[in-house]
Amino acid sequence: MPDSADKHTTPAGSEPLFEARGLTKIYNPGTEAEVRALDGVDLDLFESELVVLLGASGSGKSTLLNILGGLDVPTDGTLDFRGESLTEADERALTQFRRETVGFVFQFYNLIPSLTARENVTLITDIARDPMPAEEALALVGLGERMDHFPSELSGGEQQRIAIARAIAKRPDVLLCDEPTGALDVKTGITVLEAIARVNEDMGTLAMIITHNAAIAEMAGRVIHMSAGRITEIHTNTERRPAHTLVW
């Protein structure tokens, strides 16, 4: 259990943002190809903490993140966000949840190639309730200069930072990042992580980062280890290392 002394990661007495109990996801149930991608996950996540999710390939990390982000629904178990059930929400409510509350960052950026950096961000600010100006979001990730470039004209790290700007422009409560540095070299990877850390600190956003890279775990408040669809260990860092000091 998290160390309650570390006020930075688990604010004592505060309600968890996410509350997952017995979360289970089974693919192709009842067939030979049955896969238990999640197998009874209990997890609380709190406001403004930074969590890193580690685990072998196929251990269920993406599945968990997708369910938390309202992209997927569990086969069994319950998931509440701010006390509201996400497991009972319908498709439209989940869309609304993603729209208002969650920012996603994926390994392959998933930018719209036909829109410029700025326009990829306005895509979000157009539909969010209380967005920041696209320019401000881009400045936050250090891309104020290259706003009018198309994704194909930018480097991988720059593209990923646009994705982060796009994710934070709506001032989300939660930032979910699935292998955000997976396609990047060390140096660009670090600039991307710095951007995530800054959002987490400045805006108090709950950030969850999936990675295969154990070194990245050092910047987290808590590190969750997964294996075969279960959480095997939750480790609380007594000391967090700033992203720019990481090496791998």
Partner: protein
């Protein structure tokens, strides 16, 4: 190869909607091709067979009267293979239950020997016995309209004497494939029939013992028809001969030819549109498939499959689409052709008109459409197999985008990012968008023709029977009469207004161009039978000079101010050169018009009349008819309303079906094109759209992005489509316009609205179908892979 075929089947299954759309569009083209070409070939084959087996004459001529002893001279004309001299006259018929007079043209049959030319095709009964009294053979159309059978009798007034005619046979004649009452434009089988009777009997009735007033000739193969006509004219001149004419001016033959011509006008244009669009669709769909499977292709090549094997594999997609299209098109075309042939039978009477597919045209159509589709595929596959496998296995380099050119205008601040995506996608692949827009434009264009035809017919009827011919009835005298004949017509019960006319048959020529026409003398400031210009304004009759149908002026290549030569074929046969004072607008037949007194002066007559146009008090109709029936000098009666009704009926039958077919095809085309375009766009944008969904866009908003792009294309296609359609309709109606009928090109907002609605409705349906796929977008799958 086997496993490749397995892949083919799997891929086909995922693409079945698209393949179906392509096949349907192609099938529509083939259906039309098979139907139209088949109809043309069937009509031509049957016509040629019928004309030759039943020895349809080559040259025809009417005259006042000549002794039978003249025949050897006619037979001696060089190149003449056979001569038949006949007696031809009119009869008015009294048919129980009809409040109207029916008319018949009576034609003599040789008494003692078989016919030499224009042989009857006897359907029921027999020929009249030699020496029998009042036995007649009746044309099938008339018999059918009245359900007459051999053994029935008909009351007739022939040349002023009342006779009981007994039907002994029902027959068809190559002379009357299309049975048109004199001066009419559509058959009216209840009011007009053709009767055949023994020559001796008819000679008695018409006081023509040992004489004839009609001659038909067969010209030996390779013979000079024009010389035969000239010679015939020369020999018959002293006997009141009218001008000899050949099949090209023979009413029935001309209408059959016109029908074939108007089929020709549409037989190519529309199928080509459909087959071309289908080829574009195939090419677009396969290009996309090949691009999606670029890495698979590279792997296959790496495994050692040859480029040819791979090319063959993708060609099989086209093969499947083409095979399905041929199947549907062949069955559809055959059924449609057989259905339409039955309709034709109502107007064109052939002994055995059946539908024969034009195999050569079908083969050509199939080969052409398959070839174009294959070419499209080949281009796509070539690109894919040309890449070295190692390179092809890497994903395609990211697409380059740039702000669309339209955005330079600064509208980007007004439009949403979604709309901007649409604009930029279109600008990046303009060809694909253009093809879709082109297909949609064609779909918009197609319903214009039937709309224009319908409105043209409406306009024509309105013009003809409300503006130009305002009489209720036109009475024709058996022979031209004096002014008292006119006053007695004017004094018939119920007559409100009466207008005399004097018409003579004449040859009109300008240089070497000439036509047989009826020269009509009309009264100044006519109120009933009016001559109008294209603006519907009455054209004043010149005091000297002649007005021509615009088509006639065109044929003679003469305009106002030019001089034409008129050779009247009646009376003292005057020949005069007269100035053309102007042209008039009419839609059927060709004619020349003069002041009635000019015609009389020309003929050297007093105040003669050929008949009168009348308006009637409807309440007096029955009394009027009794008097008309009693008066032996009246040879013909034409009721405007009856003509209008039969025209209406014919158009209703012919165009109702045609319109439904065109609309159906336009719907298939619009739906197919949009659906195909939407599927391709969806496949290209899946990643973008799924990403939008992940980011919290609702299904509706995401559908809006995709559909926005297609809707933009649809809107872009509408105006050019309407323009192309109008041009196509004008060209086709122009090509189908002949001396017998001309179709005015009338383009109304109703036609345009229908075309737009058809395309929009089909688009909406395809949007709905594609929208369903957006519901099933795999959000997570899209995040796992880079494209």
């Amino acid at each position: 190869m086997r496993s490749l075929d397995l892949k083919l089947i799997r891929d086909l299954r995922t693409m079945k909607g698209q393949m179906l759309a392509i096949s349907l569009v192609m099938a529509c083209g083939l259906t039309m091709l098979i139907t139209f070409r088949g109809l043309i070939v069937s009509l031509e084959t049957e016509r040629d067979r019928y004309y030759s087996e039943n020895r349809f004459a080559d040259v025809f001529c009417d005259l006042e009267q000549a002794p039978n002893s003249l025949r050897p001279r006619l037979e001696a004309i060089p190149d003449v293979a056979a001569v038949e001299t006949r007696i031809k006259g009119a009869a008015t018929l009294d048919i129980p239950g009809m409040d109207d007079i029916a008319e018949a043209v009576m034609i003599s049959l040789p008494d003692e020997r078989p016919q030499r030319l224009n042989l009857l095709h006897m359907l029921r009964g027999r020929f009249p016995e030699p020496g029998s009294r009042n036995e007649i053979v009746v044309g099938e159309a008339f018999a059918e309209a009245h359900a007459f059978m051999p053994g029935d009798t008909i009351q007739a007034v022939i040349h002023g004497s009342r006779e009981h005619l007994r039907i002994v046979g029902i027959a068809l004649s190559p002379e009357f494939v299309y049975e048109l009452p004199p001066g009419a434009i559509v058959p009216d089988n209840k009011r007009f029939g053709v009767f055949w009777m023994n020559e001796r009997e008819l000679a008695n009735a018409f006081n023509m013992d040992g004489a004839f007033n009609n001659v038909v000739l067969a010209v030996s193969p390779g013979g000079d028809i024009n010389r035969v006509k000239e010679e015939l004219d020369r020999i018959l001149r002293p006997y009141g001969g009218r001008i000899a004419y050949d099949r090209s001016e023979h009413t029935s033959a001309e209408w059959v030819e016109m029908e074939i011509e108007s089929l020709r006008a549409v037989a190519l244009a529309f199928p080509i549109v459909f087959l071309a669009v289908a080829a574009f669709m195939t090419s677009a769909a396969l290009t996309r498939l090949v691009r999606l499977q670029r890495e698979q292709i590279a792997q296959l090549k790496a495994f050692g499959y040859s480029s040819r094997a791979i090319g063959l594999h993708y060609s099989k997609f086209v093969l499947v689409a083409v095979a399905a299209a041929i199947l549907v098109g062949a069955v559809g075309g055959y059924l449609a052709g057989r259905g339409v042939i039955v309709l034709f039978h109502q107007f064109f009477r052939f002994p055995s008109l059946t539908f024969h597919p034009d195999y050569l045209a079908v083969l050509l159509g199939v080969v052409a459409s398959a070839a174009t589709a294959f070419l499209g595929v080949l281009a796509a596959v070539r690109q894919a197999v040309r890449l070295p496998p190692a390179e092809a296995m890497r994903p395609e380099p990211p697409a380059k985008y740039s702000p669309s050119r339209i955005e330079v205008t600064g509208i980007q601040h007004l439009v949403s990012p979604a709309f901007r995506m649409a604009l930029r996608n279109l600008e990046r692949k303009p060809w694909q968008g253009l093809f879709t827009a082109f297909g949609l434009a064609m779909a918009t264009a197609i319903p214009i023709l039937p709309g224009a035809m319908r409105d043209g017919m409406d306009y024509m009827m309105d013009f003809q029977w409300r503006l130009a011919q305002r009489q209720d009835v036109t009475l024709g005298l058996i022979e031209p009469g004096s002014y008292t004949a006119f006053t007695s017509m004017r004094n018939l019960p119920g007559v409100v207004e009466a207008e005399p006319f004097r018409s003579v048959s004449a040859r009109i020529s300008h240089g070497h161009l000439e036509r047989r026409i009826s020269l009509s003398g009309l009264t100044q400031d006519a109120r009933l039978n009016r001559l109008l210009d294209a603006e519907e304004q009455q054209v004043p009759l010149p005091l000297s000079g002649v007005l021509l149908s615009r088509k006639l002026a065109e044929i003679l290549d003469v305009g106002p101010g030019g001089v034409v030569l008129l050779e009247v074929q009646e009376g003292r046969r005057p020949v005069v050169a007269v100035p053309v004072a102007g042209t008039i607008t009419d839609f059927t037949g060709i004619g020349a018009y003069m002041d009635i007194d000019e015609v009389r002066r020309l003929m050297g007559e007093g105040r003669t009349v050929s008949g009168a146009h009348l308006t009637l008090d409807a309440a007096e109709w029955d009394r009027f008819m009794v008097k008309v029936r009693e008066s032996p000098r009246i040879g013909s009666i034409t009721r405007t309303r009856a003509a209008r009704e039969s025209f209406d009926r014919m158009m209703g039958e012919m165009f109702g079906l045609a319109q439904a077919i065109y609309f159906g095809f336009a719907i298939v085309l619009a739906f197919g094109v949009i659906y195909n375009g939407a599927r391709i766009a969806l496949s290209e944008r899946t990643r973008d759209l799924a990403t939008l969904r992940v980011l919290g866009y609702t299904k509706r908003e995401v559908a809006g992005v995709l559909i926005g792009e297609l809707a933009l294309l649809t809107l872009l296609a509408l105006l050019p489509g309407l323009f192309i359609g109008s041009q196509m309709a004008s060209a086709i109606l122009e090509a189908a316009s002949t001396e017998t009928t001309r179709f005015p090109v009338v383009l109304t907002s109703r036609t345009y609205a229908t075309a737009v609605l058809i395309v929009l409705a089909s688009s909406l349906v395809s949007f709905a179908v594609v929208g369903r796929r957006i519901h099933r977008l795999d959000l997570i799958g899209v995040l796992k892979a880079r494209e």
